[in-house]
Symmetry: C2
């Protein structure tokens, strides 16, 4: 008899964004005439920029002739792209990373979700709370947690992110083995300073722990004092992996390209305490379970790192950052406590009521979609997240509606 | 201390095709002047067809304007594509499949590799031998096997494919829970008849087992008596999942698009024997760990199912099938026993020596790359696989070189 992975039964309802999508669909079915503005899921709305489109077409044209056609590429990504990424995103910004340490993939969701496969079943895991649900759900599926009790999975160490710590948690006072961090943070919009990250790198060295650093939103950092990569921190190359994505930085949510950096120095250990190469392990996983990213997409991605592409991508992020500032200012001016919206496309604020209650009110009364904070974890209860990824006119209309709703409550 | 998944240490050397690639690279470094013809990895060489290229460009153009831009799509794939697949590949050919049962992904390698995650750790697994290494390696990584002893992982049931059974194994005489089948077969090129598949479907019903049916090569079937889908067999919708891919049928190895069909009737069981929906479980997995296929790639894939696209794709497969026939005839005429090459792009034959020895001889003496049969499993020892995916001129030159080498031995 074919028996299922029993851990799936521990999962709470469906994936957060699927639940939001269902509620939105129901609203639209019941209110076919009402306009709807989506500031929920962090999904970009503006076209790919001209440099990217040009390269994308060129990539497609190469596929049209036998002489230039590309079949299977290297699973890790084409060298031209890995070299551009290492140079543009790291070396030129003072972080040592080589092209061979860059693994190209079709999404940071896949990579952050799949990475846990490399580790033992009984490692101790720390996740921020609130947290991007993928880190948690994939470990639940793998059987590394107990059941869900009072809003939390047993066996995980939750790192509370709250106004007291500026939504940047410190290392716990006990040992954990695997730590998920994300800065600029999804969902709180908070950024970690170099000193904050130094504490984590020191902690990882002390406990032989590994940091999985999600930097999917680094392109939104404008404050020159803030680190873009964990590899700007001394010693991080021995204890950290970094996830990057073009989804938000270059509008690739529907085009699909991300990359993961695994320094060759990162050591992980077998049961006898012998060091193993994490780089080699991921390479084995990546070549066995993945077949590389579509060639024209890699060609398009290369253009993001051209002189023209860099200017265009920065302008795109600036546009969304202005949206974020408009949302932040609106809510802040009404006297609400706000995090994010600076150096981040997310605005996080305390609604003063239950998160789903606020979500339902804002949707049903005003036709505006947010993401309920409690969907990201217990510490997100009472909060809501607004995404700045939308057209300016929609954001301007949305903040008027948000203002109306917040004045009612 | 961050400890690794100990199962990775059970894996034998590196992934087969990485080893072949390394040997080829070494040969090229040592013989920079010598020509090389690749009939090893099954990688297409001919350009995407005009209908596909046109749609691919249109998809890119849609990404160039805010009004038509696509961000995150449904993780399961766009409805337009799922509907085309269900209608063209199944319904119109007499197999009942609905669009909702089709999950679009970036590769059958990913899907066949990831699917095992849905099941309990202690299920009993049967794989053919020889076998596409991904089925085995992903279960090794997940801890469902013992160590590698005498060419086989302990705990797996190997289904010998040999000349006696025409390379189509029958169900074992004991109960297993999960069965991997692939027809037309990679690597043997053998095809299963409807009667062969009926036996497996009956077996699965009898033992409440699940069949994972890899039909990545169905587009090469020309014999009207052979089934293209396991869903042509009565009762299969309760006990089977089918994997399809555009990689070989439409030249998508570098473009990336595949799909997996999970009928809503398929039942799997929890520890108490209660039935669960496999469709729902995969949907949960797919939405949590995957973010959909690149939109322009889905648009291009849609064109494969247009009237023009169907004609072009058939012509492409016919071209490779002619190559296969040339290879098959050459080897057969020399008196060697050959399988495949009819209704299949692979030719499989008994070399009369150790597989790697033949691989090395053919590479070093003639500059022709094959895939050593033993790389697919113990029962492949002594065999070699030739892929028909190459340009005609290369195949014509290769068969002369193969003839030369086989006449030497």
């Amino acid at each position: 008899m074919i028996r299922v992975n029993p851990n799936y039964q521990k999962l709470q309802s469906s994936y957060l964004f699927s639940t939001v999508a269902k509620k939105v669909k129901d609203f639209q079915t019941n209110n076919p005439q009402k306009p709807l503005i989506r500031l929920g899921i962090g999904d970009v709305t503006r076209a790919l920029s001209p440099a990217i489109i040009k390269a994308f077409h060129e990539g497609v044209d190469e596929m049209a002739a036998d002489e230039t056609f590309k079949g299977y590429g290297p699973e890790q990504g084409y060298s031209f792209l890995r070299e551009l990424i290492a140079e543009s995103d790291f070396v030129s910004k003072g972080a040592k990373v080589s092209a061979e340490e860059v693994f190209v993939s079709d999404g940071a969701k896949c990579d952050t979700g799949n990475f846990q496969e490399l580790f033992s079943q009984d490692i101790r895991i720390a996740v921020p709370d609130p947290v991007y649900p993928v880190y948690v759900d994939t470990n639940v599926m793998a059987g590394r947690t107990g059941t869900f009790v009072d809003g939390r999975y047993q066996g995980l160490t939750y790192l509370d992110s709250n106004p007291e710590n500026g939504f940047v948690p410190s290392p716990p006072n006990h040992a954990v083995d695997l730590i998920y961090l994300c800065f600029p943070n999804n969902p709180t919009g908070a950024c970690a300073s170099k000193d904050d990250l130094k504490k984590w790198v020191e902690y990882a060295h002390q406990h032989k722990a590994l940091i999985l650093f999600d930097a999917a939103y680094e392109a939104f950092i404008r404050d020159p004092a803030l680190p873009h990569s964990i590899f700007e921190i001394e010693g991080a190359r021995e204890v950290a992996v970094e996830f990057r994505s073009l989804s938000k930085s270059a509008g690739f949510t529907g085009t699909r390209l991300a990359y993961t950096v695994i320094p060759k120095e990162v050591k992980v250990y077998d049961e006898s305490g012998n060091a193993q190469s994490l780089h080699e392990m991921w390479n084995r996983r990546h070549t066995t379970k993945f077949n590389g990213v579509s060639y024209p997409v890699q060609k398009a991605a290369g253009a993001v790192f051209s002189a023209k592409g860099k200017v265009e991508s920065k302008a795109l992020c600036d546009y969304y950052l202005e949206n974020a500032l408009i949302i932040r200012k609106t809510i802040s001016d009404l006297g609400y406590k706000v995090s994010g919206g600076l150096d981040s496309p997310y605005v996080w604020f305390d609604t003063g009521m239950d998160s789903w209650q606020f979500f339902d009110r804002l949707l049903n009364n005003q036709g505006v979609v947010c993401t309920p904070g409690v969907g990201f974890g217990q510490s997100g209860q009472g909060y809501a997240r607004f995404s700045a990824f939308n057209h300016r006119q929609n954001v301007i209309e949305a903040v008027e509606l948000i203002k109306k709703e917040l004045s009612r409550s």
